[in-house]
Amino acid sequence: MWLASTVGAGQLLGGRGASGQPQPLFVEVPPSASGIEWVHENAMSPSRYLPEALGPGCAFLDFDNDGWMDIFLVNSGPSDFWTPSKPVRNALYKNNRDGTFTDVTEKAGVTGAYFGMGAAVGDYDNDGWPDIFVTAYGKCILYKNNHDGTFKDVTEKAGVATPGWTTSAVWFDYDNDGRLDLFVCSFVDYSGVRKLECGNNQIGRNYYCVPRVFKPTGSFLYHNNGDGTFTEVSKGTAIAKALGKGLGVVAVDINNDGRMDLFVANDTVQNFLFMNRGPGSNGRWIWEEVALQAGVGFSESGRPRSGMGVDAADLSGNGWQDLFVANVDHEMFSVYENNKDETFRDAAQAHGVARATRLLSGWGLKYFDYDNDGSVDLLLADGHPDDMIDSYSMQVKYKEPLLLFHQGVDRKLHDISESAGPVFQKYFAARGLAVGDYDNDGALDVLIGNNGGAPVLLKNNAAKGNNWLGLKLEGVTCNRDAIGARILWKAGVKSRQRLKNNGGSYLSSHDLREVLGIGSAAQIDELEIHWAAPSKRIEKLTNLAPNRYIRIIEGQGVV
């Protein structure tokens, strides 16, 4: 019985199969069915070099603009501590529109060259075709989409060959000039210390060093010059001054001032909340790091945690963006509710998230409405970073379960993992997590990157019976991906809104389309698109029939 009938949170929908039996909310699609045979190579060595433990990221993107989500998977590669004995490459899988995928990596030219970590997808040149930025230990790569199923490595020309060890990255338009800029998280300074071995544990072998032992680093902000090049603009700002160990980042407007801010999860040092204060008198952009006073830098007991995955969404539906951070075991994850004054309170305990995550280490995650009932839910991908943890911990395991939380009518997140399907009883060394509707049925599916293993594709069955409307937004004056746009909709008596954030999760990139769940409502009565600056346009649409994707172009409406 996988259908969660009641969890004190209202009826959950799982649909019924041909036999009339309830179906799992999410079903694992095996490689034999999807055609995704690629396996992540983590390069695990006896020395246990830390980069081995942190990948991989993954992404949903429609690289060929055929309206169907394709899949990109990041792999490790040659580095100063590892020379592969056989070829190791990323994978780009084209969606065959029938539930299967075809590996087109070689043809597309996105095999990678370094020890890859994650991927950030965005249309930085506003040409209507998604480009891919791949982070790595070694050097990043920017793949520009050639519109013909292939990509070109433009890293050097674009000026984004970020050195060191980079992890999550996010495309967003911080200066509202209509072009996507790029923020890249930098993890620790691993140069010169890769021979550092952390060992002599209870089983007498090397294990992965806790990041605490490595020096923190500053992250990178690249301004899009509009000519295919970027300028690194973090120098002299709070972004460069704040030395961290960044693993996750989400671009989000915290104070509803129309400027996208940045929330960065750091490992073993405090998180950062970079408030976008706009241009200064000297023309230099002003960023203010306010995590401590905002209450999101440290645990409520004043300690830095091991932040990894992040996300932002309007969890409570009050028009203000809330935050989420996944931490390591025994630290509990954080559900930061927005106090509307640039401060937050951690409500993880009240939501039951603290208890559910106490023994887990979280990476990829996403706030999204998996059942299209109109409320934001939560999916967490977990796994301990130390592959030997089972040998010396009674409770914490290397492979950990996925967790699914449903938001009930009481506005609380309820852990429904036990009743969500067999895949939630399995254990993974999960890292990246991307959400996207690969079969265009309006139910957002999930892709999980596993360290040293095959990715997991989860088909969503949970939204059956609820209505929805899918949006593909295309900016004209604002950035093409419409990052920063605000979507307001009314269906029946319920009015809802969503800010089109970007980034979040860990090392991963989601389907850029928006699916608006409306439950049992027969249509969307009113829809408003408040395009991101510099656009001042508001698109207003009425009486939209559900259960389809529509394309809305800034200033043109539905096309």
Binding site: K215, G302, A354, L359
Partner: protein, 369 residues
């Protein structure tokens, strides 16, 4: 715990100038012996109005009040008695026991140490003093006090248990293990399982420790600290529900157990049940007055409850006393920001950054650069 020693002074001729007071005292003593403590208290008080200099009667009154559980009133009576007659060992022992009952373990330990110094032959005191030190986390003092006693009384299971526990907690596992073995030879006892559990905790075998403590609880739920140790093992093995029950069970036996009050207070604070948290922390402070960890938790409650100025005062004191207390600097910075004192908030934030950088510089990865 030991019963209070009732020091009954029968010879009061020297202070009783009239028949009536003498009869009053005799009647009070009879009432106390018969269990009519309220009556005894009334008559002692009546007598002391006439003869406040009667040292022994203050001590008697203290005992009667303590018997009624009116510890706060008993303390000044014992103190008066001891001010008038500092050598009144029985009164000092009783005062120590009252402190112990009140959870003022540090005060109890101080008085017991004086009794021990003045009356080394009193065999009751070392065990009591060792128990206080164990509750205060002063394992080395437990060892100092109880090692000679253990040599004198090698078959005393209580001494062996307490000393063994202290040795194991003090990482002197081998010496502690010898005492464990001795207890084990005496059969399947709660003490033995408790010590085995402690030993397993020290080597991070939390599940093993949990199982031993569970057996100890089953055999003797009234054994000192048995519930709190079981609760700690349960916390470490991820059973927070059961651990809360065990912490509460410990408090049912010993309402002033420091760890139980601290843990349940922290849990209550996390659950935003601040009134309950305050009650736990206040009791924890009685056991370990001035404990910086508890005071920090109380400051966090003030912050959580929107009382940043109260939090600020507590936190300013804490960082003055412990300048390296990074967490307190973090919270103090937050308090200043909430009080719209950004300059002070920034100053504290810079201290946090400095302390963090100093800690980072000590890490091996930094040295390898």
């Amino acid at each position: 715990m030991r019963k209070f020693t009732v020091v009954l002074i029968l010879s009061i001729g020297a202070i009783a100038r009239a028949q009536t007071p003498q009869e009053l005292i005799q009647d009070a003593i009879q009432k106390q012996q018969a269990g009519d403590l309220e009556g005894a208290v009334a008559e002692y008080k009546q007598f002391l109005k006439l003869h406040p200099e009667a040292t022994a009667i203050h001590s008697n009154l203290g005992a009667a009040l303590a018997g009624l559980g009116r510890f706060e009133e008993a303390v000044p009576e014992y103190k008066t008695a001891l001010r008038q007659s500092p050598a009144l060992a029985a009164a000092r022992l009783n005062l120590a026991l009252v402190y112990y009952k009140m959870g003022r373990i540090a005060d109890a330990a101080r008085e017991l140490a004086r009794v021990r110094a003045e009356d080394p032959a009193n065999g009751q005191v070392p065990l009591l003093l060792g128990d206080c030190y164990l509750r205060m986390g002063r394992e080395k003092d437990v060892i100092r006090v109880l090692e000679p006693e253990e040599r004198k009384h090698p078959e005393d299971a209580a001494i062996a248990y307490m000393l063994g526990t202290a040795l194991i907690r003090d990482k002197q596992v081998e010496k502690g293990q010898l005492l464990v073995d001795r207890i084990l030879r005496n059969g399947d006892s709660a003490e033995a399982h408790l010590m085995l559990g402690s030993a397993k905790m020290n080597v991070s075998d939390f599940a093993g420790a949990r199982d031993e403590f569970a057996k100890a609880v089953a055999l003797n739920p009234n054994l000192a600290e048995v519930h709190v140790l079981y609760a700690k093992a349960l916390v470490l093995t991820g059973d927070s529900d059961q651990s809360s029950k065990e912490f509460k069970a410990e408090l049912a036996v010993n309402p002033f157990n420091f760890d139980s009050n601290l843990q349940l207070g922290a849990t209550s604070r996390q659950e935003q049940n601040y009134e309950q948290a305050n009650r736990y922390f206040t009791r924890a402070l009685k056991t370990r007055p001035g404990d910086p960890g508890v005071r920090y938790q109380l400051a966090l409650i003030d912050l959580d409850e929107g009382k940043p100025d109260e939090a600020r005062q507590m936190l300013e004191t804490l960082v003055r006393e412990s300048p390296q207390f990074t967490e307190a600097h973090v919270s103090l910075s937050i308090a200043y920001y909430r009080l719209k004192r950004p300059a002070d908030g920034k100053r504290e934030q810079e201290i946090v950054q400095k302390l963090t950088a100093e800690a980072q510089a000590k890490q091996p990865g930094a040295k390898a650069q």
